[in-house]
Symmetry: D2
Subunit: 121 residues, 4 copies
Amino acid sequence: MKHTIRVYHEDTDFLGVVYYANYFKYIERARSEPIRDYNLKFNFTVANVCADFKSPARFDDILTVTTNLDYIKGASVGLNQVITRDKDLIFLAIVKCAYVVDEKPTRIPQEVKDTLKDLFK
Amino acid sequence: MKHTIRVYHEDTDFLGVVYYANYFKYIERARSEPIRDYNLKFNFTVANVCADFKSPARFDDILTVTTNLDYIKGASVGLNQVITRDKDLIFLAIVKCAYVVDEKPTRIPQEVKDTLKDLFK
Amino acid sequence: MKHTIRVYHEDTDFLGVVYYANYFKYIERARSEPIRDYNLKFNFTVANVCADFKSPARFDDILTVTTNLDYIKGASVGLNQVITRDKDLIFLAIVKCAYVVDEKPTRIPQEVKDTLKDLFK
Amino acid sequence: MKHTIRVYHEDTDFLGVVYYANYFKYIERARSEPIRDYNLKFNFTVANVCADFKSPARFDDILTVTTNLDYIKGASVGLNQVITRDKDLIFLAIVKCAYVVDEKPTRIPQEVKDTLKDLFK
């Protein structure tokens, strides 16, 4: 699944590059797209993330966030998300999202699992 | 009323200065201090703001936000807020805050008025 | 000139609405579009802004920023910018941008004036 | 090394908690404190981070960021950073910072190593 990001002025820092925390905003925008399109209730929250900052992005860059499904378990989903600028690798992250209801980890209902599999088919 | 701000890395932009929208975060932090200290319910929302960007602040600057009360009306409060770095004028704003309950403008209760007058005495 | 904004998760606050400072990010994105498209050097900085917060925007809203030119003077440009969600008025701002070279206000070159007039025709 | 953070209004999201990317801002503030105090040139950049989101922080919380040194290698430094609210564990991260000059990974000079050891003694 692919999502396009424009680097805004607000995303940059005094070193002239995208401030490192903002890549987590970018991958979150990419994750929220399908949730919106499939009208899923907003029930996933990030439990764990590992990220590599490969190369800096800059003002006005057009970035692509590619999101793939690694696994669906009982109460969590594993994703990998890669940010590129043309052929340059900018950022990559392994993300574990927990299914959460009322701030408690909860088993993912079968219909949500089916929708997710469908989404990432 | 004075509040001290440190300019963080996250606040700067690729021009090497504080990104203009972030001054509004700074003055909001300054406004929220007394609300916390006096245990006021969080019922004010900004209705209108006019701001002058006088001189840029930079990474690691120590800034002072000075907040003064201009007026208390039936359903709103007028403040002026000035950001300085030593003797340098960085930013100034005239802010009108509406008293809001359930997202509707509401008359300010007398005890809130009294507390505000006390705060800015 | 119109620019479309999607309200991201990151833009909202604990009151469930868009955090007030973020509207200034939105109007800045709208202003930077033509600068990019016309390959203008990035020489404008906000000197003054007056803004009215009319109605709150929320997560996932699609907003339209409409930017109009009020005037071009020797060293500054006046814009008005309105944010709407369908027919709802969300935010409006009067913005004075100074033409700045090496952090000093500078006369706007005639070709930049011509480009701006062309842009907002 | 300990650093205190106040959760500002701007840090929260519509779920009523701190937006997940903002914890990376918090740990960056904590990392920059000693760099400032020791007048180190600002030459470290995050190469890799793994983070666990343990429990949500909320508006007005007072958080403590505890930063410990895991290792100093030729061109990088390993840190672990833990965010707590009283006895509650909020967030923890393992951070690899690369020493970077002109955007290129570079061997850490001996005096910088000595200063870091001194800092985290």
